[in-house]
């Protein structure tokens, strides 16, 4: 029962793979950036002086962490049009992935906010900064420094989770894998190729993150 591994049959599909990989990458990067912004908002809500606002923030995190991404994607893509919101596959995938990732980002950012000593807020406030200025110039730079390493996990999680976007008909790497597998019958090869593409994407983004980190936070400085 010798199975001969060959890429020759699926070679013609590699042109599509490039486009699919770009879709995976752009979807993931956008979702990461947007979910950091949304996550920051939720993390701040969880520190609000107003209890209802705190509860809303906590509820958001729990709902997102306890709902499968696939369900969120279906809701955004198939159910939202019933309410008059019709999104393209890409936009639906971006919204779903962002909403989901923001739940996790909020927790990461919350830990980063807790790590900023109260004295930092006080020093900034005592200089007459507005709340927005305190966050922008004093708090977020320190939070960002703290969460930069833990962010790596979430970045990879988003890239891998983006494979579910095939369920809302987006041409990304997982959907390439399914299409090419079933039309070429070389399932094993397409699965392996897709796995390698995800590995390369994740590692490229991660290495880019580390290199940017070295630029932003030079050695020998605790920030």
């Amino acid at each position: 029962m010798g199975y001969s591994f060959t890429l020759r049959t699926i070679y013609p599909y590699f042109g599509d793979l490039w486009q699919s990989a770009l879709n995976t990458l752009s979807l993931s990067l956008l979702a990461i950036v947007l979910s950091i912004a949304l996550g920051a908002l939720v993390a701040l809500m969880r520190r609000s002086a107003l209890r209802p606002v705190r509860l809303l923030g906590a509820a958001y995190v729990e709902v997102m962490r306890n709902t499968p991404l696939l369900v969120i994607l279906y809701l955004v893509y198939f159910a939202a049009p019933e309410a008059g919101v019709r999104l393209s596959s890409f936009m639906a995938a971006l919204v779903g992935l962002t909403l989901n990732s923001a739940g996790y980002m909020a927790e990461i950012l919350r830990a980063g906010l807790i790590a900023v000593p109260p004295g930092q807020f006080e020093a900034a406030q005592s200089q007459g900064m507005s709340s927005a200025q305190v966050l922008r110039h004093v708090v977020f730079p320190q939070v960002f420094r703290t969460i930069y390493a833990p962010l790596g996990n979430q970045v990879i999680a988003v890239i891998l989770a983006s494979s579910l976007a095939t369920a809302v008909a987006l041409d990304e790497v997982a959907s390439w894998m399914q299409t090419v597998g079933s039309s070429s019958f070389r399932f094993f090869e397409t699965f392996v190729v897709a796995a390698v593409v995800y590995l390369v994407l994740c590692q490229s983004v991660n290495i880019a993150r580390i290199l940017i980190g070295r630029k932003l936070f030079p050695q020998g400085r605790r920030a």
Binding site: E122, Q125, S126, Q127, G128, M129, Q133, H137, R221, R222
Partner: protein, 244 residues
């Protein structure tokens, strides 16, 4: 002398605990008021009420005729004119010494960067740290950090400086550097409120000593006279123990 600060019957509570119980105090321009007293009597809390870091439950605070409590924009207006120096420096760790000093003038006071930088560099000369201008807080000793914190407070041209035990977290050998800078500020005629356990500094530099105990001002007067012999038993006892 123009009055800068007026406290009238100030009351501060945390929950049901009263921390400040009817503090009244007037401070004129050029005064150097040193606050002394046992731990936990509300000295830090008093300074924090003055710039609105704590809200108050009774009485009035006015700074240059403007009420400190109440609306946030009034509080911010007061904070722009009051410099605060903390026991643990609270420098911004992600910024260099120079950036620490320049931040508020640029973002809060909307001043031109070049102007602020020139002033900041002059301040580093004044606090004798011109050589540490590009260091990060983590790379500096406590005494250096505290002098940067003083430069940071000075760079917004404050009308009042508040020091909360500025030398308590320092190694003995660096305390002198910070006190020297503070003496220079006193000679310039700055208005200062200083919470301190440095009784000798208070006696040398202070124009007034305020002894606090159990939520109240127990006695105030000329620092040298009080160190030589305070009126009240409690102040005498405290100054005696701390003086050694």
């Amino acid at each position: 002398m123009t009055e800068i600060l007026a406290l009238d019957g100030l009351v501060k509570r945390f929950g049901s605990r009263t921390i400040l119980d009817g503090i009244s105090l007037n401070v004129s321009a050029g005064e150097i008021v040193c606050f002394v007293g046992p731990s936990g009597t509300g000295k830090s809390t008093l300074l924090r009420c003055i710039n609105g870091l704590e809200d108050i439950q009774g009485g009035r605070i006015s700074f240059e005729g403007q009420a400190v409590q109440g609306n946030p924009s009034a509080i911010r207006a007061v904070r722009k004119r009051v410099g605060m120096i903390f026991q643990h420096f609270n420098l911004y760790p992600h910024l260099t010494a120079l950036q620490n000093v320049m931040l508020a003038p640029v973002v809060v006071h909307k001043e031109a960067k070049a102007e602020v930088e020139a002033r900041a560099r002059a301040l580093f000369d004044k606090v004798r740290l011109a050589h540490r201008i590009n260091a990060y807080p983590a790379e500096m000793s406590g005494g250096e950090q505290q002098r940067v914190a003083i430069a940071r407070a000075l760079c917004t041209n404050p009308h009042l400086l508040m020091f909360d035990e500025p030398t308590s977290a320092l190694d003995p050998e660096t305390v002198g550097d910070v006190l020297t800078v503070m003496r220079d500020l006193a000679l310039e005629g700055r208005t200062m409120l200083v919470v301190t356990h440095e009784i000798r500094f208070a006696a040398d530099v202070g124009t007034r000593m305020v002894f606090m105990d159990q939520c109240r001002i127990v006695e105030q007067g000329d620092p040298r006279a009080m160190v030589a012999g305070a009126q009240t038993e409690r102040a005498r006892k405290f100054l005696g123990t701390i003086h050694g």
